[in-house]
Symmetry: C2
Subunit: 211 residues, 2 copies
């Protein structure tokens, strides 16, 4: 199973499967049993697991240890991805404190800001001067950067990240970034997420939406 | 055109169309001309506009004023949606300050928190005691609530919102909320968004991802 073929929805469910499996002792686990215990749709669990491992056997299930090992691999537990956050305002700080990144093998290494009052070099997740960002990324081999600065500074900050070797940018500024080939930009429009929820609600949609 | 039939992607482009049209004087505008000026794909613009208005005429284009009026309507400019934010920590505050909600006719009316040090009743967007949240929602007819509290308090806060008449909940806590029928919950997993970006980047995807 290649990691890159996983859908976003499947990926989102993997940390919960992993936690469930780690809490068990059995040699084998079945999709039906997991679905029941986790209050999920059996078809979904069955499909997800078949994408994660090819070791499933009818009437027996999956060997639990191998499944854990596959999930560990897919979730990058053995190959942590380091991330930097540009901008340590409210949003940047919220992201730096957001638990849940570790579930996906992502680790926020440092934040960067241009305001002296926000610098905090001795914290677990230090906030450093933005002038050091490019060099920091190069030194630590960081490939993923988050942009949480006002739109007026977004392009400059983006250029600095790219200069430091970053190839994947998660952009919270409402600014259409220009990047060289080989750099992926994902723009996060928080307002759009909320607007879309309101639409779904207006439709009389009763249930869950997972973005 | 029913608002609820718009895709998330189309919805996301509407504010930019509106801004473009408001800056023009012409009586008619064409999709081709807009696509060129806005550096967008003509097919996309053509499709979007056909969803927004049925007034387009071959070789002439769309009557600009009617198009603006349609967009105003779709973006809720004449029918603002009021929103409350539960939790005024870093994330809650970041959301309260996030510009861009107004683009979609969304207006954050107030935030609520249980910590006295975070209360700020006299701000433009006041932060009030969480005990007042349910009553506030009822009084102001608020139907949309954002949950930006730790997972341990998410269900309680959710129940309070529902009690106040809220029917659409945007949930940032990593907790699976239980809600009565008729209440829509959209869970936002920020870690998943970043993990998904890293996957896309690993694939060698070169370009833009709009979530």
């Amino acid at each position: 199973m290649k990691k890159s073929n996983l859908s976003r929805a499947t990926l989102g469910r993997l940390p919960a499967y992993l936690r469930y499996l780690q809490d068990k002792d059995d040699e084998y686990v079945s999709a039906a049993e997991m679905a029941r215990a986790m209050n999920m749709c059996e078809v979904t669990v069955r499909k997800d697991l078949s994408r994660v491992s090819s070791e499933g056997r009818p009437k027996v299930g999956y060997p639990r240890r191998e499944l854990i090992s596959n999930l560990d691999e897919l979730l990058g537990k053995r190959n942590r991805v380091d991330v930097v956050v540009a901008g340590a305002g409210k949003l940047g700080q919220a992201l730096m404190r957001y638990r849940g990144f570790e579930d996906f093998g992502l680790h926020i290494l440092a934040g960067f800001d241009c305001e002296a009052s926000r610098l905090n070099p001795h914290s677990d997740c230090p906030v450093l001067p933005v002038e050091e960002m490019s060099e920091f990324c190069r030194t630590h081999g960081v490939r993923v950067g988050v942009i949480a600065v006002p739109e007026g500074s977004a392009q400059t900050v983006c250029d600095t990240l790219v200069e430091g070797g970053v190839t994947a940018i998660w952009n919270f500024a409402s600014y259409s970034l220009k990047t060289p080939r080989g750099v992926t930009v994902q723009s996060e429009n928080l307002a759009l997420s909320l607007a879309h929820l309101c639409l779904a609600n207006g439709k009389g949609n009763d249930g869950r939406i997972q973005t």
